[in-house]
Symmetry: C2
Subunit: 461 residues, 2 copies
């Protein structure tokens, strides 16, 4: 009996997509024209279903690719045609919001925006936030340890997961759906599955940590000419607001210009006079007093020549204006051709020199047209979007080498938040040592001896 | 050649304690009269030394017990006489404070208080804080994922470690001493060693996350009669201060009485009229404005009958007074005999009913004299100190069963922050499933196939 027949027999045909139904599926939310190639797609409706699927595949040594919201920035949802795809999309129930524990319990297929909304309806906040919030599913978010716009204050996904349920490659259910903040009762097994890109188990449920909803929100765009002042202003604002500074985004001049000029729906909050633009966010408790404080701090920073200019957003429409500029990356991609994206991290004090060095080196490459740079500078996380005159493997590799080769010596990372997948695994040696790689493979082989889950993702064995 | 001779030959006699020098050592900072029984104690001076020790012991299949500051709350530093003890005390250098990255890099033998002081000298804060800060060493703190008084705001040790270096049982050095906040370049290997109680590797160095030093500090003692209001007041204060609430400690009436009456150096800030006493801490940016806000919020809470009484500490001497009451646990232990200590966690909304149920059940045991309870209620973490008329294994076990057996059904933990060690391993089934235990053992056997590091700690294989 084939694995597809076994799955149909065990789970029922309605949970298995084959033939025409399979062709309607895809691997990438941004590229829905690429049809899925796989033996079948299985849509489990419960953790028990996931366990059954894995038991059957384990017995048959059948490789599996796991699908969530298909953001697929590093190729983790790609298939070669011989895998069984397991998609968690039907496990999309929010199971509980506990307002006193400040937790939300949900299945892995729940979309981030629905978690945010449900938290908000209970006067709470799930602080994780990023561009793909309308499609990204919890299982993928957790498996990729997603970051985003408020890591400075609230941490990555890893910091926001209290309890987790996952299924091991052999079908064993590892369930620890606890709402507790402190648990030192032996190894913290959930850490194995967070950020493992689906290579060690399939995440099926989670208990998420919520926080009390902030009562005020303010932002400001600030102009600066010296990177040292970008760091000084971060420390100044963070100390001045004592922990309620929630976002600190940096945009390079040329990138800010494109984000706010002809091809963009947004006008510029500040003129094009500065080398750096910083967008800050404060999530506080009192709109009026926080605004007074923001005005005072900006004035001090201006008088001390830390910043050169500032514009404040204190109402909903201005907040939306400012953040659309930062979040609408489409404005950048639509102004480039053959765009190549990066998501690196490096120590905060080195960003100015290193990133500007990389920018110069890239602009000296004749086939490169545009170099946009921006990022979560308070997290040391910089994104590049690079437009090119043509697309060739050589050019892609050349650009990767320019950027990634700088990172080893300075203790940076080739992936701050997007993961490694298949796209970056060839460059992993630029930030992980041989002994680290060996230990990763020991873990993989211990939990997944037949290499069935997301085989060839992160590394090859 | 014996392992001791091999170690002397490889490392030099000055790094090895044997004979009389060994007898002067001990296993417990609180019980220095218990001499150390071991083959020898090795005091490495570098990561390379640690690697050499582990290579020799690995070859000889020689079990090792790791020593740090010897707080030893759960028996992790205990030996049986046939082990080699490796103490990190000579690796006690703070290597760097990077004020712009807001990191501190240090060797594993550095004492917590020295980290705190060095951070403070740079206008930064290392937020981890607990009673044993004057003796606890970083390696032990990290290996036990220490918690303490400010987890509500800053998280456990796990949240404060950015980079880590550890040595595997076979001597392999796993070094990832990065200062970066975001790093999704494959498995986050440091998570394996944090909280593993020294069973998977020896932590040798770490990069710690610091935060900007707060500019204001305030506290208040509050009296309440209804546990539901303890939760309501937590939410009210946390929302009201939008993230700068940093401590929220709960003390039961009888415990507060002992903490502030005849045997104690501290007077009571509030009269003995209430069932519950909560001590809050706010770390903010402006002493005067934060105090105004605290007064306003307490008034609202009083008028809304959430709290019944309050006393504010806004100067150094009052802050010291209030926190000495909470932190000087010695007042409790010196008022009990045969004291037995607990460190459990459970969902916040259930604490009132469950803990009061346990208190009643314990007080009905004729051999029990006193039941003190207090804890980090915002983290769901409650401590018991139980005084008994006599000490017997049966009574100890009976009390353990009363407390631990309640935790499985409600998703609690037998160890919130102290770990499992040898003292709690017999009760681990009350919060971890069989499949979780099996996975822990898979990890142990993968990284330490000869079970050399801290054998028999957390679990037996």
């Amino acid at each position: 009996m084939t694995i597809v027949s076994s799955l149909i027999e065990k789970l029922g045909a309605h949970k298995i997509k084959v033939g025409e139904a399979l062709k309607e599926r895809y691997i990438h939310i941004w590229k829905m024209d690429q049809p899925l190639s796989a033996l079948c797609a299985v849509l489990p409706e419960s953790t028990e279903d996931v366990s059954q699927i894995l038991k059957l595949c384990h017995k048959a040594k059948q490789p599996i690719v796991i699908h969530g919201g298909l953001t697929n920035l590093v190729g983790n949802t790609e298939t070669n045609g011989n895998e069984v795809v397991v998609s968690l999309e039907k496990m999309n129930k929010i199971l509980e919001v506990d307002v006193d524990s400040r937790t939300l319990t949900a299945e892995a297929g729940v979309i981030l925006e629905n978690v945010q909304t449900e938290a908000k309806n209970n006067n709470l906040l799930f602080p994780l936030n990023f561009g793909a919030k309308g499609s990204a599913q919890l299982g993928g978010i957790i498996s990729n340890n997603a970051g985003g716009l408020r890591v400075l204050r609230y941490g990555m996904t890893r910091n926001l997961v209290l309890g987790l349920e996952a299924v091991l490659p052999d079908g064993t259910i590892i369930s620890s759906m606890k709402k507790i903040i402190k648990d030192n009762s032996g190894y913290d097994l959930k850490q194995l599955f967070i950020g493992a890109e689906g290579t060690l188990g399939i995440v099926t449920k989670a208990v998420l940590k919520l926080v009390e909803a902030p009562k005020s929100r303010l932002s400001a765009f600030v102009g600066l000419n010296d990177y040292n002042n970008v760091v000084a202003f971060l420390k100044f604002m963070d100390a001045g607001f004592a922990g309620i500074l929630s976002g600190y985004e940096l945009i390079w001049k040329n990138t800010y210009e494109v984000m706010t000029s002809s091809g963009s729906p947004s006008k510029p909050p500040l003129p094009y006079n500065y080398e750096y633009y910083v967008l800050v966010e404060i999530l506080g408790s009192d709109q009026i007093k926080d605004l007074e404080k923001l005005e005072t701090l900006l004035e001090v920073a201006f008088n001390e020549h830390i910043i050169l200019d500032a514009a404040i957003a204190s109402n909903a429409s201005d907040l939306n204006w400012f953040w659309t500029i930062r979040e609408d990356v489409h404005v950048l991609t639509s102004s480039t051709k053959n765009d190549q994206h990066f998501d690196i991290s490096l120590p905060i004090p080195l960003i100015g020199e290193v990133i500007n060095g990389i920018r110069e080196e890239l602009m000296a490459i004749i086939d490169i047209d545009k170099v946009f740079s921006f990022g979560h500078v308070a997290d040391g996380n910089i994104h590049f979007i690079i437009g090119k005159h043509h697309q060739s493997d050589e050019l892609i590799h050349q650009i990767n080498e320019v950027i990634y080769s700088k990172l080893k010596a300075i203790g940076g990372s080739i992936s701050a938040e997007h993961g490694v997948g298949v796209h970056k695994k060839g460059y992993l040696h630029y930030c992980r040592s041989e002994s680290e790689m060996a230990l990763m493979k020991i873990l993989k082989k211990s939990l997944d001896p037949h290499l069935l889950l997301n085989r060839g993702k992160i590394f090859d064995i």
